[in-house]
Amino acid sequence: MTADLERISPFAAWLFSFFGVRVPAWIMVLTAVSIYGFFVILPQLAALGYLDRKLGADIQMRIGPNRVGPAGLFQGIADALKLLFKQDARPGSAGMAFRFAPILVLCVLFLAVGSIPVSKDWALSSVDSGLAHLLAALLLSRFFLFWSAYSANNPWSALSAFRILAHVSFYLLPLAVAFLPPVLVSGSIDMGGILSSQGGWPWRWTLFHDPGALIGGLVFFGAMHIWQCRAPFDFTSAESEISGGAWSEYSGARKGLVSVIEFAGLYLSCGLFAVLYLGGGNVPFGLDSFGRAASLVHFTALTIKIFALAAVSIWARWSLPRLCAGQVVSFSWKVLLPFGIVSVLSTALWMALAAGKSFAEALGA
């Protein structure tokens, strides 16, 4: 039983290795998911939200929330509580999916978020078909988003819904292509395998393995951010143009889900980039002296990387003007996809010629 649990959810196994009790596997998994969700992911999402507001305010030469707690730290709590106690308005002509489709978006995104491994022990869900499962979850999240937009039965939401469909059809290919270089370099499609094939030092990361992987990393970062419709590519829910687009009819707690979805998407983009290309939580020094707490070190390293990447993403979001739908489409076909294909081919070529050695290894490091 424990071996099975190790295979499915290393985090659950790690958590329950502290206790000698025998509980059914499903209870262990549920507990592990709750604890991981509440104490690992949710605080990070809240911190990302705070970073977004304060960094964005700084970029716009403002101050941002500073009254609500010490330096505005409780702003997210106030927002969440307020939204919880708002009237839940539903337009009369909305479809039946109006109520539950946003929650489905969040569920599927959390499927993807949970598959990001922090370390060998702290992977919430380790699926054998790692990246394929991830791609399916990402695609499904956009389709549930389309469903929630379309069921709102509102001109703005309908516009947004069709833009979401267009966006999915244009950006799936660059995204899928950008997933390939780490698979080629590490030889496994499983996230844990990709993580363990990278070392701690930067020259052992996938990003600096070979020039093809470098290009692939940049394509991946771009494609993931555009997939999550982060500004400046947020033409699907352009707030000033189509007044909130997909979300314009949602009020109250469902509107709060919008923020959670946005920051879960940001966390996903940055976390995946960190794990696939930047070596995840791997650190250059040995961790035998830490024992069971080694995963905390991994977690710290990964969090630092994720927040650095998130800062770059937030910087782009608050500085750049929005791109038109046509410009986003041409960016996909003319820039991302060609560079993605070039990166895959050159990585494959390198792997064949250099017998799998990285650039640093080939130089003798």
Binding site: A57, A78, D79, Q87, S240, G244, E249, S251
Partner: protein, 182 residues
């Protein structure tokens, strides 16, 4: 189909006034006054001052207020500018689309009382937003300085704080009936 709608959700008048629920009241009011999302009803020149309030020098986001464009996302409607008879039904409709609890801040002379265009001189502008929707705070000025609008926001916070979140104090009067969703 008649469905009872509550302003405060399931809590309204369903809880006795014990001390622990007054703390809950206080918590809910704290949350509501610290996160007032406002609908930018930018009708005329006052709208430019309202944009400045969310700008760099005056920054309404310090108080947790963020502008929203969809009425379903907003708690507060800042009516900034002259209201014409052509715009009036749309104003009423957007107010109706805001979910409860909702507040209105009337900014500038034109929406307080018709201002420059009231009484004798204009056939086309409504003499004040409170002829159409119930207003909580009036901010005078033509246009009011952004500091005046911030003062209005602080007055609104006091008003939010002074109302019980879980207990409706007064019977719905005229304005109360206006606030209830039909």
């Amino acid at each position: 189909m008649t469905r009872k709608r509550y302003e405060m959700g399931i809590l309204e008048n369903a809880l006795p006034e014990y001390a622990v629920f007054s703390r809950l009241d206080r918590l809910i009011s704290w949350a509501r006054e610290n996160s007032i999302a406002y609908l930018t009803m930018d009708l005329a020149c006052c709208g430019v001052e309202m944009l400045q309030v969310s700008g760099g020098r005056f920054d309404i986001e310090r108080f947790g207020s963020v502008p929203q464009v969809s009425p379903r996302h907003a708690d507060l409607m800042i009516v900034a500018g002259t209201i014409t008879y052509k715009m009036a039904p749309l104003l009423r409709r957007l107010y109706g689309e805001m979910p409860l609890p909702k507040y209105v801040l009337s900014m500038g002379s034109c929406s307080n009382c018709g201002g420059l265009f009231s009484w004798e001189y204009s056939y086309s502008s409504v003499s004040g937003a409170d002829k159409i929707i119930p207003v909580d705070v009036f901010v005078p000025g033509c246009p009011p300085r952004p500091e005046a609008v911030l003062h209005g926001l602080l007055a609104l916070r006091k008003r939010i704080a002074s109302r019980h979140a879980a207990v409706r104090e007064e019977a719905p009067g005229e304005w109360g009936k206006e606030r209830a969703v039909k």
